[in-house]
Symmetry: C2
Subunit: 746 residues, 2 copies
C-alpha cells in the first residue's frame, strides 16, 4: 500500500495506456472484417474521403488559430508569477490530442460503416458487433488520450513547479502547476468548439439540402445514390455526430478533471500522498471508469435476430456504471482522510478559525457527491428520452397538432421544447444543492467527475448510432436486399434513442463541468463573492444570458445559408448533368462535399470568436466579479437553450418518424405523404439545426467560456490587486478540523 501511495501519480497514465491498448486491438479486429463488394467500397471510399477532406480543411484553419493563441498564451504566461509560458505547450498538446482523437474516431467510423453493412448480410448479432466495436474504438481512444495527456502533463508540471521547488501542495507552486495544466483543457475545448459548431453546420447543411431537393422536389428516397448531396449527408453523420460529439465529451472529460484538481489544491488534506489525494482523485476515478468501460463494452452482444439491441447496450452501460461506483467507494476510503476543509474559503486569513457557515466535509461526503453526479447523469438521460421518444405524451402531442397544419406542428414542438427544460433544471439544481451539501464546491466538481467517469462507454454507445446510420445509407445506395436494410434499420432505430439520451448526458456533463470550472475560476481569480446585487455584476449576468441567443442565431442562420447553397448546387446538377435520374450519369458528389466543408469552416469562425473573446474583454475591462456574473448568465441561459433546442428537435424528428408506421389522429390513420405528415416534415426540418447544430453547441459554449475565464483568472487576480488567496507556502502542520472553533462573526 505504501508503494501505491507513493507511486499512484505515475500510475494514472497507465490507465490511459490500457485504454489505448484495447483500442488498438479492437481497431485491428474491425479493419480485419470484410468490406463487401466494389460498389459498397466505392461509396464508403467517397464518405471516408469526404470526411478526411473536412478534417484537413478544419485543421488548416485551426493550425493558424493554435499558433496565434499559443503565442498569445506564451506571452501572457510571462506576465504573472502564477503562470508560465509553458502553458502554451500544454495548450498545443491539448489541441493536438483533441484533434487526434477526432481523427481516430472518424477513421474507425468510416471503416466500420461499410463493414457493418457487410456484416448485416449475415446476422444482426454480427452487425451489432462490428458497429459497436467501432464505437468502442472511438470511446477508448478519446478517454485514453485524455487520461494519458492530462496525467503525464500533471506529473511533469507537479515535478517542475512543486517537487523541485519544495513548494506547498496547497500553495502558489501547485497553483502554478495547475494553471499551466489548464492550458491543456483550453486547447482541447477550443478544438471541440470548432469541431462541434463546424461539424454541426456541415451535417445539417448537407441533410437539409439533400432533403429539400431530393425528397421534396425530385421525389427520390433518402440516401438515394442519384442525389448529389447524399455523400455529403453521410459524411455529415461522421463529421457532426462522431467527431463533434467526441470532441465535446473529450473536452468535458478533461475539464471536469481539471476543475476538480484546481479545487482540490484548495483543500487541506492529511492523506498518505503528501496532501495531493484530492487533486489525484478525479483522475483515478476517470481511470477506473475507463477500465470498467472496457468490461461493460465486452458485454454488449446479442445472439439471435430477435434479441433486443437496446437491452444489450443497457446492460453494458449499467455494468460499467455500477462497477465504477462500487470501486470508487473503496478508492475514496483508501485515498482520502476522514475530514478536510477548504483552505482559502473556510479559514479566516491568518488564523485557523473557520468562517461562519463553513462546511467541514468528510470522505463519505465526497463519495455522496460522486453518487449525486451519477444520479444526475442518469436522470437527465431518462428525462431526455421521455421528451423525445416515440409513443410518449410529448411526441404524441406534436403528432396530434400536425393534423391542423405546419404552424400548429411548430407551435407544438416549441412548446414541448420549452416545457422539457423543467425537470432537467430541477434535477440539476438539486444536484448542485446536494453535491455542495455533501462536500462543498469540491463536491460539485467531483460530482461532475463521477458522472463523466464512464465517458468511454457513453461515447461507444453514442458513436455506434451514426455508424449504423451510415451502414444503412450504404445498404440503400448499393441497393442491397431488404433484409440487410432491415437489420441496419433496427440498429439505426436504437441509435436514434441513444443519440437522444447521449445529448441529455452531454448537456448535463457540460452544465456540471461549467459549474466546476466556475467554482475553480472564483478561487483563482481571488474574489470572495459574485454579488448580483451589484449593478455591474447584474449587467454582466444580462449580457451573459444573451450570448447563447446570439450564438444560436448564428448557428441556425449558418445552416440556413449553407443549405440554400446546397439546394442550388443539387438543382444545378439535376439540370445540367443529363442521365442522373436514370442512373446513367454519376452526380458530382465532391462538389456538394466541398460546399458543406467550405460553409462550415467559414461559418464556425464568428461564433467561435464570440466564445473566446468575450470573457477576455469583459474580464480585463470590468474585472473578475463582472466576468463571474457573465459566466453565470451564459451557463444558465446556455443550459436552458441547449435543452430547449435539443429536445424540441428530437421530438419533431420522432413525430415525423412516427408517420412511417402510421399514426392515429382523432380516429383516423395517417401515413407518409399525408397532409399531417408533410406538416411533421416541416417540424423535423426546423428541428434539424436545433438538435444537431445550435443545441449541442451550447455545451461547448458554456464550457469554453468558463475555461477561458479560468486561464485568464491569475491575470485578473493580479490586475485587481487581489492576491490574498494564494497563501504563500502555507504549512498547516498539524490540524484536527474538529478542534477548530466555528466562531460567529458579528
Amino acid at each position: 500500500m505504501d508503494f501505491l501511495n507513493t507511486y499512484l501519480i505515475y500510475l494514472i497514465p497507465v490507465f490511459g495506456l490500457i485504454g489505448i491498448l484495447f483500442m488498438i486491438i479492437k481497431s485491428a479486429w474491425v479493419t480485419k472484417q470484410e468490406t463487401g463488394d466494389a460498389s459498397m467500397n466505392e461509396l464508403a471510399g467517397y464518405i471516408a474521403d469526404g470526411a478526411m477532406a473536412f478534417l484537413r480543411a478544419e485543421w488548416k484553419v485551426l493550425g493558424y488559430f493554435v499558433v496565434v493563441a499559443g503565442v498569445l498564451l506564451a506571452w501572457s504566461g510571462t506576465t504573472v508569477a502564477t503562470s508560465s509560458p509553458v502553458i502554451a505547450i500544454s495548450f498545443v498538446i491539448g489541441a493536438f490530442l483533441s484533434a487526434f482523437a477526432g481523427y481516430l474516431g472518424m477513421r474507425i467510423a468510416t471503416k466500420s460503416n461499410v463493414r457493418t453493412t457487410q456484416a448485416a448480410k449475415t446476422s444482426l448479432a454480427q452487425a451489432l458487433k462490428v458497429s459497436f466495436t467501432g464505437g468502442t474504438v472511438m470511446g477508448l481512444g478519446v478517454a485514453g488520450l485524455a487520461i494519458i495527456g492530462l496525467g503525464s502533463l500533471f506529473i511533469v508540471f507537479y515535478t517542475m513547479y512543486v517537487v523541485n521547488t519544495g513548494g506547498s501542495v496547497n500553495g502558489e507552486a501547485m497553483a502554478k502547476a495547475l494553471d499551466v495544466l489548464a492550458g491543456f483543457s483550453l486547447g482541447a475545448e477550443s478544438i471541440a468548439l470548432f469541431a462541434r459548431v463546424g461539424g454541426g453546420i456541415y451535417t445539417k447543411a448537407a441533410d437539409v439540402g439533400a432533403d429539400l431537393v431530393g425528397k421534396v422536389e425530385a421525389g427520390i428516397p433518402e440516401d438515394d445514390v442519384r442525389n448529389p448531396a447524399t455523400i455529403a449527408d453521410n459524411v455529415g453523420d461522421n463529421v457532426g455526430d462522431v467527431a463533434g460529439m467526441g470532441a465535446d465529451l473529450f473536452g468535458s472529460y478533461v475539464a471536469t478533471m481539471l476543475a476538480t484538481m484546481v479545487l482540490g489544491r484548495e483543500i487541506v488534506s492529511h492523506d498518505n500522498m503528501g496532501g495531493i489525494a484530492p487533486v489525484l482523485l478525479p483522475m483515478v476515478i476517470a481511470g477506473l471508469g475507463l477500465i470498467f468501460s472496457i468490461v461493460g463494452a465486452s458485454l454488449v452482444k446479442i445472439k439471435n435476430e430477435t434479441d433486443s439491441v437496446q437491452t444489450a447496450l443497457n446492460i453494458g452501460n449499467w455494468v460499467s456504471i455500477i462497477l465504477t461506483a462500487v470501486a470508487t467507494y473503496f478508492v475514496v476510503q483508501w485515498m482520502l482522510p476522514n475530514d478536510f476543509m477548504h483552505l482559502t474559503r473556510d479559514v479566516i486569513p491568518g488564523t485557523t478559525d473557520l468562517k461562519e457557515g463553513s462546511l467541514v466535509f468528510t470522505k463519505n461526503g465526497v463519495y455522496g457527491s460522486i453518487l449525486v453526479g451519477l444520479v444526475v447523469g442518469t436522470l437527465m438521460s431518462i428525462i431526455t428520452e421521455y421528451y423525445t421518444a416515440m409513443g410518449k405524451r410529448p411526441v404524441m402531442s406534436i403528432i396530434k397538432q400536425s393534423s391542423t397544419g405546419h404552424a400548429t406542428n411548430i407551435i407544438g414542438g416549441l412548446a414541448i421544447g420549452m416545457e422539457s427544460t423543467v425537470l432537467p433544471i430541477l434535477v440539476l439544481a438539486a444536484g448542485i444543492y446536494g453535491s455542495f451539501f455533501f462536500a462543498g464546491l469540491y463536491g460539485v466538481a467531483i460530482a461532475a467527475a463521477g458522472m463523466m467517469a464512464t465517458t468511454a462507454m457513453q461515447l461507444a454507445i453514442d458513436a455506434f448510432g451514426p455508424i449504423a446510420d451510415n451502414a444503412g445509407g450504404i445498404a440503400e445506395m448499393s441497393q442491397l436486399p431488404p433484409e440487410v436494410r432491415h437489420r441496419t434499420d433496427n440498429l439505426d432505430a436504437v441509435g436514434n434513442t441513444t443519440a437522444a439520451t447521449g445529448k441529455g448526458f452531454a448537456i448535463a456533463s457540460a452544465a456540471l463541468t461549467s459549474l466546476a470550472l466556475f467554482a475553480a475560476f472564483v478561487g483563482v481569480a481571488g474574489i470572495e463573492h459574485i454579488d448580483i446585487y451589484k449593478a455591474n455584476v447584474l449587467a454582466g449576468l444580462f449580457v451573459g444570458g444573451m450570448i447563447p441567443f446570439i450564438f444560436s442565431a448564428l448557428c441556425i442562420s449558418a445552416v440556413g445559408r449553407a443549405a440554400m447553397a446546397m439546394v442550388e448546387e443539387v438543382r444545378r446538377q439535376f439540370r445540367e448533368i443529363p442521365g442522373i435520374m436514370e442512373y446513367k450519369a454519376k452526380p458530382e458528389y465532391e462538389k456538394c462535399v466541398a460546399i458543406s466543408t467550405k460553409a462550415s469552416i467559414r461559418e464556425m469562425v464568428a461564433p467561435g470568436l464570440i466564445a473566446l473573446i468575450t470573457p477576455v474583454v469583459v474580464g480585463f475591462i470590468f474585472g473578475p466579479e463582472v466576468l463571474g456574473g457573465l459566466l453565470a448568465g451564459v451557463t444558465v441561459s446556455g443550459v436552458l437553450m441547449g435543452i430547449f433546442q435539443s429536445n424540441a428537435g428530437g421530438a419533431w424528428d420522432n413525430a415525423k418518424k412516427s408517420f412511417e408506421k402510421g399514426v392515429e389522429i382523432n380516429g383516423e390513420m395517417h401515413y407518409k405523404k399525408s397532409e399531417p405528415h408533410k406538416a411533421s416534415v416541416t417540424g423535423d426540418t426546423v428541428g434539424d439545426p436545433f438538435k444537431d447544430t445550435s443545441g449541442p453547441s451550447m455545451n461547448i459554449l458554456i464550457k469554453l467560456m468558463s475555461i477561458v475565464s479560468l486561464v485568464i483568472a491569475p491575470h485578473l487576480n493580479v490586475a485587481a490587486g487581489h492576491n490574498a488567496h494564494i497563501q504563500k507556502e502555507i504549512k498547516v502542520q498539524s490540524m484536527n478540523v474538529h478542534q477548530i472553533k466555528v466562531e460567529k462573526k458579528a
Copy 2:
C-alpha cells in the same frame, strides 16, 4: 415655495385628478360622435357585448382570488411588526383600480371603433382624431387612477405610521408605511397578470381559429361577416391589446414608483420636505409626465388626406417626453439637496463612516439617471421597430427564406428573434450600469420612473392601434366603400408599427421595474449580498431561469388548444347552419365568443399560480438570498424570452404582410396565394402566440414575481433573523457627507 414644500405630498393626487378630468372631457367628446348605420351598430354592439362578457367572466374568477389573497395578506400582516393587516385593503384597492382602468379602456375602445369607422367616411383627419382620442382616454384613465390611488394611499399610510407616531422617515415607521403601500402594487400587478395572460390567450385563440378555418379552409377574407369567429377576433383585439396592455403598463407605472419610494426611504436626504423628497420624487415625475402627456396628445392631428399619421404621433410623443425631461430637471433641482447617501448600505452600522466602495451621489446624478431611463426607453423602441418593420434587413431575410418553404421561413424567424436580443440587452446592461453610476440603486429605480413618466402618452398611442384595427374590421364586415377601408387601413398600418414599438417600451419598462423592485427587495429582506457563488443561490438562479420557459410553454399550448376548439366550432357552424356562405343565415357569433372566454379564463390559472406561488415557496423554504437568485434568473431569462418571442412574432407578421403588396425574391415577384406567401402565413401563425400571448406575458411574470418577493420580504427578514437593516428610529442629526471619512477596511 415653503407652502409647496409642505403641501407637495397633498398635491400629488391632484395631478391624477387633472388626468381624470381631461379623460372625462375627451370621453364625452367621443361618445358624442356619430355611430353610423344600423349594421355597423349591430356589429359594434356584438363586439362591445363580447368584451364585457369576457370582463365579467374574468372578474368573477378574480373576485375569488382577491378575497383569498386578501385574507392571506391580512393574516400575514399581523405576524410581523413592519407590516400590518391594512396591506389587504391596499391590495384590494390596487386590484380594483387596475380592473376599473381596464374596464374604462375597454369601454372607450369599443365606443371609439365604430365612431372611427363612421369618421373615416368623411376624412382621415377625423378618423385619426376619433381613434386617437379614444386611445388618449385609455392612457389618461390608467395614469390618472394610478397616481390618485398611489398618491392618496401614501398620504394615508404616511400619516398613520410616520407622522402620527413621530417615526423617522428613514426608519421602521416609514418602512411599514411603504410595505403596506406595496399591497397596492401587488393588487395591480396580479390583475395585470390575469388580464395579460387571459387576454393574450383570448385574442390569439380567436385569431388563429378564425384564420385557420376562414382564410385557409373556406377562402373568405379576414373580418368577413360570414365567419362565426370574426366577432371573437375583434373582441380579442380589445381584450388583449387594449385591456391587457393597459393593465401591464398600469402595473409597471405603479411598481416603478413604489420601488423608487422603497429605495428612497433608505436615502438620508437633508431636503426641505422633512427628508421625504426622494420618496416623493417618483410620484411628482409621474404627475408631470401625465400633464405633459395631455399637452402632447393635443398635438396629434393632421389636416390633409396625405399627411403622415406616424409623424403626427411622433410629434406628440416627443413633445411630451422633452417637456417632461426639462420640467424634471427643475423639479430635481428644487426638491433634492446637493448630496445624499444610501443609509443602510453605505454606512457601517453604528458609525457614520462609509463603507469601501460607497457611492455618495448628487442631485445632478439623480437627473442623469432619469435621462438614462429616457434614453433606454427610446432606444428599445427604435431597436424593436428595426427588427419588426417592413423593408428592413430582418424582415427581408425572412421573406427570402420563405421561398424555400415553411421550414426555412420558421428557421429564419427564430434566428431573427434570437438575434434581436443582442442590442436591447446591451442597451439595458448599459442602462443599469449608467443609472447606477449616477445615483446608485436609487438611480436604477428612478431611471425606470423617468422612462415610465409619459405612460399616459405611450398608452394613448398603443390603444389607438387596436381601435383603428377594429374600425377597419367593422368597415369590412359592413361592406363599406373602399375609400373608408383605405383610410382605416392607413391608420391600422401605423397601429402595427406603434404596437411593435409599444412592445419594446413595455419590455424595457418591465425589465427596469423588476430591477428596481429587486433592489428594493434586497433592502427590505435585510440581506447584504446575493452571492451566486453559493451553491443554493446558484441553484435558485437556474430554477428562476427556467420559469419563463415553462410559463411560455403553458401560454403557447393554451393558445394551441383553444384555437383547435375554435376551429371545430367554426367547422360545425359551417356544416350545420345552412346559408351562412350566402349571407342568408347569421353565424352564432356568441358561441365562438364563449369558447375564447372560457378557454382564456381556464388557461390563465396555471401560469398565474406559478408566478404567485414560486417566490413564496422558495423564499420561505430556502431564504431571501436564494429567492434573490431566483428573481435574477427569472428577470434575465424573462427579458430574453420576451424580446425573442415578441420580435420573432412581429417580424413574421410583417414578412407575411409584405406579400400583400408583392415582394421580389431572386428577381421574381411574389404575391398573396403564392407558395412563399403560404410559408409566410405559417410563420405568422406561429408568431401569433409568440408576440401576443407568451412574449408580452414575460413582462408581467418578471414584475409580479418581484413584487410578491417585496411583499413577503419583511417576513423573510424576520424568519432569517436579520433585522439589522431597519435601524430603529435613526436620527441622523446633522451630516455633511463630504466630511465622512471613507475608510479602507482590511
